[in-house]
């Protein structure tokens, strides 16, 4: 589904068709391990699932560049053995397809060693023509783009019928000042994310999203119209 000309949703990723660029946000590698460290003994399935789902996207379109829009890894301060191993595996997978660029997120402070080892660029934001890709945890001044693409908030929409409620990851499309804004869902498969119907979102780009358009990610992409009218 196209959000703008040349900007298309494919599963949980965005594809800039003109530039053959794929954007993925908030992977949170090492989430299970971080749960283990907190004394929650969740068996590890995430990486296998992640690979399967990513391959489905990577094999669908022609890709020259992969942009990871922040929070590749989960832990803030340190990098664990598991994260190190899994992150390398993941980047190797990406590198099989194209070059990789990392847009820094708030969880990636100590990402440098991995980036260095694999010779990957780390940037605060990435600009292609009038599209700017940034994580969204803080406002970046002087971005000269018409369209901003952010991650960070892991938006989720909850649909309700009678007593039944289900949550789905979703893309949001709206405005920030005079610019167009796209919010990407997370690629963290274990948890849906923040319910845009009731939770206050964190990004300074997102004050009131009630006028944003909602695109739900299911077996395909479903257009649900304006948030406040759902």
């Amino acid at each position: 589904m196209e959000l703008f000309k040349n900007i298309e949703i494919i599963d949980l990723a965005l594809y800039l068709s003109k530039y053959k660029t794929l954007i993925i946000s908030d992977l949170h590698i090492g989430f299970e391990e971080s749960l283990n460290k907190q004394g929650i003994f969740v068996p590890r399935f995430q990486l296998d699932d992640l690979f399967k789902r990513l391959k489905g996207i990577l094999d669908k379109v022609e890709i020259k560049r992969i942009i990871i829009n922040g929070d590749l890894k989960h832990e803030f301060g340190t990098i664990s053995d598991q994260e190190w191993r899994d992150s390398l595996k993941l980047i190797d997978l990406f590198l099989e397809y194209s070059e990789v660029i990392l847009v820094k997120g708030n969880h990636d402070a100590i990402f440098e060693p991995i980036a260095k080892k694999k010779n990957i660029k780390i940037v605060d934001s990435f600009k292609i023509d009038d599209i700017c890709i940034l994580h969204g945890n803080k406002i970046l001044e002087n971005l000269d783009c018409n369209i901003l693409i952010i991650g960070h908030d892991h938006p989720v929409v909850s649909l309700r019928e009678n007593s039944r409620v289900e949550k789905y990851k979703c893309f949001l499309k709206g405005k920030w000042k005079d610019k167009n804004l796209i919010v990407m869902p997370s690629f963290k498969l274990l948890i849906e994310g923040s319910d845009v119907f009731k939770e206050k979102l964190l990004s300074p780009y997102l004050d009131d999203v009630s006028d944003f358009e909602v695109f739900v990610v299911g077996d395909k992409i479903y257009k649900f119209g304006i948030l406040k009218e759902i």
């Binding site: 929650i40 003994f41 969740v42 068996p43 948890i191 119907f197 077996d219 257009k223």
Partner: protein, 862 residues
């Protein structure tokens, strides 16, 4: 052998075993033995296992301790008192423990005064609150009588050094055993008791002390296991009772909410003012606060510093303060939820008021037994009812109480989560052969039916067999060598993890509801999931508009005048016991027979009056209620389920009048909703109450076809499927995962918030399902829901009754809901049976959106 003692000993026989000093002290102080003492003291002296069931204030505790004190004094006089624990006393309440300590030290001092010498007998309390220094003191000089809780006992069993003091225990007393046997704390304790016995060469004499409960044989088995010997002393009914059901108004129907409210508080005030000290039970925390608030507001002169609230959400200090002031006689009235049910000493109470039904005879008796604390005082209880169902229910409850028909408790069986925790503890304490381990566990009554398969699944779980080999060091908790059969500890952190996560009581997940910064109450986390911005819901009788949520806080707006947009669910309400439900059903049947045989109003009123011990007003209200139901439709009863098709405000209902209590109806309604949802391929909404359940719908449903599909022998299989996507299974899984230490509440010095536990447990649940639907902790969660929370066994009995024709099923139609159905629909809490998976649901919702937009003529979305 379990047998009831037929007659007490003679006072002379009991005196005969007492040390002259003890005898003098006792007779000076009490003059004569109480009935429990005549039964019990000599038996305990003779090292016979015994279960004593008697009401509060019946000198149970002294019965338990008299011969033990006597023996210790004998030993002391002979200079043979050793530095070891002779008696372990366990109660479920820390507060009770300190009471007991005082109640033991006092007699000791008094006897020492008579003897004019010290005996050197030490009484020590060990609970979670015991300080490190006190604990090390105990290690050097172990108390001769050790007073503790189930959790602290488990910790001591894993304490390398202290364990040494527990190898020559002679007596074990389990107090308030009724409050332990029916839940997982009791299951946990039953294994600890067997572990304690294993440390000892000699057989420990077991003494159980219990309030009113049934069946006593089973509690006795719980105490000593099936092949053990135990004598039972049943003096449950030695206290005189003065019980009444009261209605605040003569007519429970034609009354406005305000008049009812005013009359209710007038009645409560009148009762309080007519007595010295009153204890009120309200069942829920929110109601507790409300009652205190309204009493103060309506009668500011009567209630100032002399009224207090007591419930689990209040701080420990506040609660202790209330208990202390009660004992000192400084309070006129205390309002509590259920928290003062158990036997801590609360001083002189001369009236107990029950606001709302206690839902079971034994609970009612326990509560009312809090008044007249001395043995020969009369226990005085007043149950206040607010509607006609309540009136009938409590009328029957009172009859059963007076006629000594106590409902049966349910002891959980084969709890695999508790088992996991205990095996972990056993493995930490020492190496053990797998066969010996199995044998030890089977000694507990709660695991007498444990199968080898289940046992080995738990072992596999603990040994981390469910994960890949390379990850196993993260997951394995014990070490099990299949070659040698030896089970042992694993990892350096094991002990700390075990000691800081021991126990079975789950953390509660309550979301705080705030107006600005002020907390106005709490809601269930699952309820929050359903809320959308601008939804209106009811909490503690007030309406609130939901604004947004952040973590475990829901912000709301208090000034709303719109009707609720979302019904309440998951009430805190206690379920009606099955046995009491059957009694109510029987009463319904008798009354209907009178109507059918054309008895006059006078005759029927006389019957009601006679049968239920209620006053004229009440009998009249009951009569009118039955008459309306009888004339309008038909009266359902214990052996007649009426299925009523009806509608109200455009919504259609199929109401099942199945008065078997909510635990049974929970099963029947879900099984039926599941069957309908398969037939019709849609989500089914249903509501459950004690008196029945209903299915709500808009388009025609083949309810009866589905109902005919339900068979008793397939019920369990159907229910396991029906539970799969439910909130209740998710929640119970979290509890089980925490008990089995898959989720640690306390890890590396950090305590996890409940919200975090909840999110994690959902991830954990889906991961565990991928391993196996029979993963032991998931299996246990299902068992807990079906057997402990709900009552699948009795639901099966009901279905069998239908299959054999003992219970008739009648399908009837009504234009508007019949009188009995009306309350049922109003009071039930609702849930939903989901049929389609998430993607199908998404498509359906999307089609709805498309349809809506289509109507508005916008083409953009087509």
């Amino acid at each position: 052998m379990i047998n009831f003692m037929k007659k007490p000993y003679e006072a002379k026989e009991v005196e005969g075993i007492l040390n002259p000093l003890v005898k003098k002290w006792f007779l000076d102080k009490f003059r004569e033995f109480s009935l429990p003492q005549l039964y019990g003291v000599k038996e305990i002296h003779d090292r016979n296992n015994i279960l004593i069931s008697a009401p509060t204030g019946a000198t149970k505790t002294l019965t338990g301790f008299l011969s033990i004190l006597n023996e210790l004094i004998n030993l002391s006089e002979k200079g043979k008192l050793m530095d070891k624990v002779y008696c372990v006393y366990i109660s479920p309440l820390k507060a009770l423990n300190y009471d007991i300590e005082i109640n033991l030290n006092e007699p000791l001092k008094e006897i020492e005064k008579i003897a004019k010498k010290k005996f050197g007998i030490r009484v020590g309390v060990r609970t979670g609150d015991t300080s490190q220094s006190e604990r090390s003191k105990m290690l050097k000089n172990p108390p001769h009588i050790l007073i503790t809780t189930p959790e602290s006992l488990a910790i001591m069993l894993n304490s390398y050094k202290f364990k040494e003091n527990l190898t020559e225990v002679e007596w074990l007393i389990v107090d308030e055993i009724h409050a332990l046997a029916d839940n997982k704390r009791g299951v946990h304790l039953s294994l600890s008791v067997e572990r304690l016995q294993k440390l000892n060469q000699n057989k420990i004499t077991r003494v159980g002390l219990s309030a009113t409960i049934s069946p006593l044989e089973e509690i006795a088995k719980y105490l000593v296991n099936e092949d053990g010997n135990c004598k039972i002393v049943n003096v449950q009914f030695i206290k005189d009772m003065d019980l009444k059901v009261l209605s605040p108004v003569p007519d429970l129907i034609d009354i406005t909410h305000k008049d009812m409210h005013d009359s209710l508080y007038k009645l409560i005030d009148k009762l309080i003012q007519g007595h010295k000290t009153t204890l009120i039970f309200t069942n829920t925390r929110s109601a507790t606060e409300k009652v205190v608030h309204h009493l103060k507001e309506k009668f500011p002169k009567n209630y100032t510093e002399n009224i207090g609230a007591h419930h689990g959400s209040l701080g420990k200090e506040h609660r202790h303060n209330i208990e202390k002031r009660l004992r000192e006689g400084k309070l006129k009235v205390v309002v509590c939820s259920t928290s003062l049910e158990l036997g801590i000493d609360i001083g002189y109470i001369d009236l107990v008021i029950l606001l709302g039904s206690p839902k079971s005879v034994s609970r009612g008796l326990q509560r009312i037994g809090r008044s007249g604390h001395k043995l020969h005082d009369t226990a005085k209880g007043r149950i206040i009812v607010l509607d006609r169902d309540d009136l009938i229910e409590n009328g029957v409850l009172l009859k059963a109480a007076i006629e000594k028909k106590i409902d049966n408790i349910h002891i959980p069986d084969n709890c695999l989560d508790v088992l996991s925790q205990q095996i972990y503890g056993i493995a930490l304490a020492d190496r053990i052969h797998i066969d010996d381990l199995f044998e030890l566990i089977k000694k507990s009554y709660c695991y007498r039916n444990l199968s080898k398969e289940d046992f080995f699944e738990v072992i596999d779980y603990l040994a981390g067999e469910y994960t890949k080999l390379e990850d196993r060091n993260v997951y394995a908790k014990i070490w099990y060598d299949k070659e040698t059969g030896i089970v042992g500890k694993r990892g350096r952190l094991g002990r700390v993890i075990y000691m800081t996560n021991i126990g079975t009581i789950p953390d509660e997940t309550r979301v705080k509801v705030k107006v600005g910064n002020q907390v106005v109450g709490t809601i269930d986390e699952a309820f929050l999931e359903r809320l959308r911005r601008n939804d209106v819901f009811v909490l503690g009788g007030e309406r609130y508009e939901f604004l947004f949520a952040r973590g475990m806080v829901a912000q709301v707006n208090a000034s709303v005048y719109r009707p609720p947009t979302i019904p309440s669910w998951f009430s805190e309400m206690l379920p009606l016991s099955f046995d009491l439900a059957l009694e109510i059903g029987k009463f319904r049947r008798y009354v209907e027979e009178k109507f059918k045989s054309g008895k006059s109003k006078k005759e029927i009123l006389e019957f009601i009056n006679d049968y239920l011990y209620v006053d004229k007003n009440a009998a009249n209200a009951i009569y009118e209620y039955f008459k309306e139901q009888f004339l309008y439709l038909e009266v359902p009863s214990d052996n007649k389920i009426i299925i009523e098709h009806s509608s109200e405000e455009g919504k259609k209902y199929v109401v099942f009048h199945s008065l078997y209590g909510r635990r049974v109806n929970d099963v029947l309604s879900r099984a039926l909703a599941y069957a309908i949802s398969r037939l019709e391929h849609k989500d089914i909404e249903f509501g459950i109450s004690d008196n029945g359940f209903y299915i709500g719908y808009n388009k025609k449903l083949r309810v009866m076809d589905a109902f005919k599909l339900l068979k008793s022998e397939e019920l369990r299989v159907v229910m396991e499927k029906a539970l799969e996507k439910t909130e209740v299974l998710r929640r119970r899984f979290r509890h089980c995962a925490t008990r089995s230490l898959m989720i640690l509440r306390n890890y590396k010095g950090r305590v996890k918030r409940v919200g975090r536990q909840q999110v994690s447990s959902m991830i954990l649940l889906s991961a565990v399902k991928r391993i196996s639907e029979d993963f032991p902790i998931l299996k246990e969660a299902k068992r807990e829901v079906l057997e402990d929370l709900m009552d699948i066994d009795n639901a099966e009995i009901v279905l069998k009754g239908i299959e054999k024709g003992k219970i008739k099923v009648k399908e009837l139609h009504s234009v508007i809901p019949s009188p009995f159905a009306f309350n049922l629909v109003l009071q039930g809490y609702t849930d939903i049976m989901k049929i389609d998976d998430k993607i199908e649901f998404l498509r359906r919702m999307h089609n709805k959106v498309l349809a809506k937009i289509g109507k508005n003529g916008s083409k953009e979305y087509m």
